[in-house]
Point group: C2
Chain length 346, copies 2
């Protein structure tokens, strides 16, 4: 059994966009670690990452506190209770056994194990009970999946869901810190009329939209779209839920947006939905058309909730609602949800 009072926590991939955000979230939430190990590839060893929370390595003059990066190796997990992984699916697979051998629980942000039958896929507001049957690994869902499921779970309490159609407006951060830099630099190149550097995305992202995220599958959908379907079904315990997903990358830095049409089996009024969403954990309604108030991805970086606006009736089906939702891809879409899972373990 892991130490649930003052656990030793490892963050694998600590220098990445999600890893850094995991440290920030743990610090902000007062995660009761007795030690935090920041693990990354050899070239980052010795780097000091800002972290002033419990279990920090030390303090330095420039900042409140820090953790010093150690190399991500099998030995690094000795004595660890909880290993938060944000180092990509290959690293998660490579070190799964080492984490298990150390007696630690892996909370994995990659897609490597999400659909495995012995791996719970958890959004703490929705299916916290699923962590009870973990076999050493708990998977953190895809970023776009998390924000969609938080809303769908709240709405599904009102009436069974019949079909969900969702088009995404996904930020650069989903492809990592270097991808955010690419968007930033590319926008400057575009404005300067200079040649564009295109490396992290298949095409120019600045002043453009790219209707592809992750690789294509045989049926013409992308893997991101497939993930959103099967992960949502797994999290909601609703394997037959009909979902039509279209994923699009937009030139936004770090919050994902989704335009969603939900069809229910029975009537659900806008007022009922509004009340349910207002009372749901992890959801913030920002929805006042008269004041031009609705959530926007460029203005919500660093927030924790799933923001909902544009809630309205969809009269094109018998029992339809439409809404717009936004969440910080690095917070609720990744780091926050993973730390919340770790909190469930305590």
């Amino acid at each position: 059994m892991i130490n649930t009072k003052n656990p030793v926590v490892a963050v694998a991939g600590a220098t990445g966009a999600v890893g850094l955000e995991m440290l920030k979230v743990m610090e902000q939430r007062g995660f009761p670690a007795s030690e935090v190990r920041a693990l990354a590839s050899a070239r980052s060893v010795g780097r000091r990452l800002t972290y002033a929370g419990a279990g920090a390595t030390g303090t330095d003059s420039a900042k409140d506190g820090y953790v010093e990066v150690a190399e991500l190796t099998s030995e690094a997990f000795e004595g660890v209770d909880i290993a938060l992984f944000a180092a990509g699916g290959d690293r998660s697979m490579e070190f799964r056994q080492a984490v298990a051998s150390a007696g630690a629980v892996m909370v994995d942000n990659s897609s490597a194990f999400r659909m495995d039958k012995d791996v719970p896929l958890v959004v703490p507001e929705i299916n916290p009970e699923d962590i009870s049957w973990h076999q050493g690994v708990i998977a953190n869902p895809n970023c776009s999946t998390i924000q969609l499921t938080v809303v769908l779970a709240a709405l599904a309490k009102l009436a069974p869901l019949k079909r969900v159609v969702c088009s995404t407006y996904q930020a650069a951060s989903g492809a990592g810190a270097a991808a955010m830099d690419e968007l930033y630099n590319q926008a400057q190149q575009f404005l300067n009329d200079e040649p564009l550097t295109i490396d992290k995305f298949a095409h120019q992202l600045a002043f453009n939209c790219i209707p592809q995220i992750d690789i294509f599958l045989e049926d013409g959908s992308t893997k991101e779209e497939w993930k959103m379907v099967v992960e949502t079904q797994k999290i909601l315990h609703n394997p037959n839920l009909n979902l039509a997903i279209s994923c699009v990358r937009v030139p936004v830095l770090r919050c994902h947006s989704e335009s969603v049409n939900v069809e229910f089996e029975q009537a659900v009024s806008v007022e009922e939905a509004r009340t349910a969403l207002e009372n749901a954990a992890g959801i913030m309604l920002t929805d006042d058309p008269s004041q031009k108030e609705y959530p926007m991805p460029g203005l919500l970086s660093g927030t924790d909730d799933v923001y909902i606006g544009r809630l309205r009736k969809d009269s094109s089906v018998a029992h339809g609602l439409a809404f717009w939702c936004v969440a910080d891809q690095l917070r609720k879409g990744a780091a926050l949800n993973a730390v919340q899972i770790a909190e469930l373990l305590l």
Copy 2:
């Protein structure tokens, strides 16, 4: 009757983004005008607009040819055969009578008359026959409507449409030339960490998405969303078509994109749809996932077709297809469609 061989053409709002594009389109298509009058507000009078086509005012040393701006007044329509209006709905209403008195036909890009029973709303690839019953005004549909209807009309030949769900990714150009400048300048301000100038849009657009276009209506939808519903029904002669529309402004300069899910009354295969779209006028299929090929709004400025990609089965309903479509908002979405209507009049 108007002179259909060498008509006198007036462009009202000639200095705006759409007006300038109308001149460009007429020139490029060899529109057989005997005279082109560029009309705008008093402050633009005397300005020379590049136009080297038939009916140009003259030539100057710097450019091939030009038209000189005259003031938009009732008298300006004397002797005019076709008046292309892109000066906003107020101007269209103000000068409707003057255009009629001059015996000219108004092709109006504004939303002022689109839903009037005596005004045909025309997309030349779809319902050219509707111009036959015009009473002096023919309306050019909303930009987002045009690109959607071009595709829906081609698909509706395969099987009756049951329901359409569409989320838009609309460019700054839909709000005019100054709005495009605002996005451009705002992006530079954002990169420079300077205060942002926000004037043409309700909120920051650079590195953001704004889920509101036009004003809000009582039912929580926006006027842009309503336009797309009722205009599509009118153009397709299908007043009962179920449409669920969500309109979002994205930081793109001048092409609109749409993520669309279509439900049919009967089975339509991806292959049948592909063939129908390949053979449809005004449509270009750019759809090769293996080569990461699909239409993208940042790369299609200045093009005339409605580009379609990501065509695939939507398995969330009995007979569903999904696709992504992109068109230049200033060309097919406005100026080109208006000039095509004028060509139908000849």
